[in-house]
């Protein structure tokens, strides 16, 4: 049942730990932000650890074309985020930075898939993979409705389903990769915005 290899187990432990951290009600506001960032960083770290097997290192993944694209998107995202927070103060531009970060995350996961020389598909081919993508879609849509409070739990459910699909059922599809990274990335940019704006104000 547990994923083979030390890294898969690290991934799952980090995922569980980050969910715990995320749920602790910290009381001062800045601590809450830092706690949230730590939790989401652990979530993203778990996604990275998911694919770091003995055979392949992070460097190998970054050497592939997809890995280079991912790094480029991440750098562009950082530049755009800095520009929006320091120069233009434009929330729309910060949203664009978040989308670039999301693209970087999906490309990074795909680079790991490619490294293990598995065929990457667009659509999932396992049942859990379909469920992860199917939960992610309403979670993203509901965000803009009065039921936005259900978006987070649904997104985490999509992340969990994608994690199980990739680790246990050998799912290698773009949609599942998106389900794996979307919630973590969105939460990360959300908390980073709070931290940076607090720093700028103080």
């Amino acid at each position: 049942m547990l994923p083979a290899g030390r890294s898969g187990r690290w991934a799952v432990s980090l995922f569980l730990l980050s969910l715990f951290l995320f749920m602790v009600p910290w009381f001062p506001e800045s601590l809450a932000t830092i706690g949230g960032i730590l939790a989401v960083a652990a979530l993203i770290g778990s996604v990275v650890c998911t694919f770091a097997s003995r055979k392949h290192s992070v460097r190998d993944a970054l050497r592939t074309g997809l890995g280079r694209l991912s790094v480029a998107a991440l750098a562009a995202s950082a530049v755009v985020a800095a520009a929006s927070l320091v120069v233009t103060f434009d929330p729309g531009l910060y949203g664009a930075a978040g989308i670039l970060g999301l693209i970087a995350g999906v490309l990074g996961v795909l680079a790991w898939f490619r490294l293990s020389s598995d065929r990457i598909r667009l659509l999932p081919h396992t049942a859990v993979g379909w469920w992860s993508a199917g939960i992610l879609a309403p979670s993203a849509i509901v965000q803009f409705s009065p039921w936005a409070s259900l978006s987070g739990p649904a997104g985490i459910a999509a992340t969990g389903a994608a994690l199980v699909a990739i680790l246990c059922y050998h799912e290698r599809s773009v949609l599942s990769a998106a389900a794996l990274v979307t919630t973590a990335t969105m939460l990360f940019y959300f908390y980073a915005l709070f931290l940076v704006s607090n720093l700028i104000r103080s």
Partner: protein
């Protein structure tokens, strides 16, 4: 045909892991000394409230239990309990969250 007690498939086992984590998390949160009362609404204040915390875990657990039941011939007693109880908890808590957040103040 004997019905197994513990889950047999990966999806069912993961559902059990998340269910245990849900109970543990609520236990930890209840035991913590909390200077500020849990915020009444999601996103209002610093942390998620207790029900929201349970909702997230139970959501993962119920989804995985349902997937095992529907697609991977998971028929163990524990999986039935997790899926039915988790699903009921998710619906109940989601309705409560909606009652708190979707009504104008």
């Amino acid at each position: 045909m004997a019905i197994a007690l513990a889950p047999q498939t990966a999806a069912g086992k993961w559902a059990a892991v998340f269910a245990v984590a849900a109970v543990l998390n609520v236990a930890v949160l209840s035991a913590l000394p909390n200077p500020v009362f849990y915020p009444q609404r999601l996103g209002d204040g610093t942390g998620l409230e207790l029900g929201g915390a349970f909702l997230t875990w139970a959501g993962v657990s119920a989804v995985l239990g349902l997937v095992g039941l529907l697609h991977y011939r998971e028929r163990s007693a524990l999986n039935w309990v997790i899926t039915l109880f988790g699903g009921a908890a998710v619906i109940w808590l989601a309705v409560q969250q909606l009652a708190l957040t979707a009504t104008p103040l």
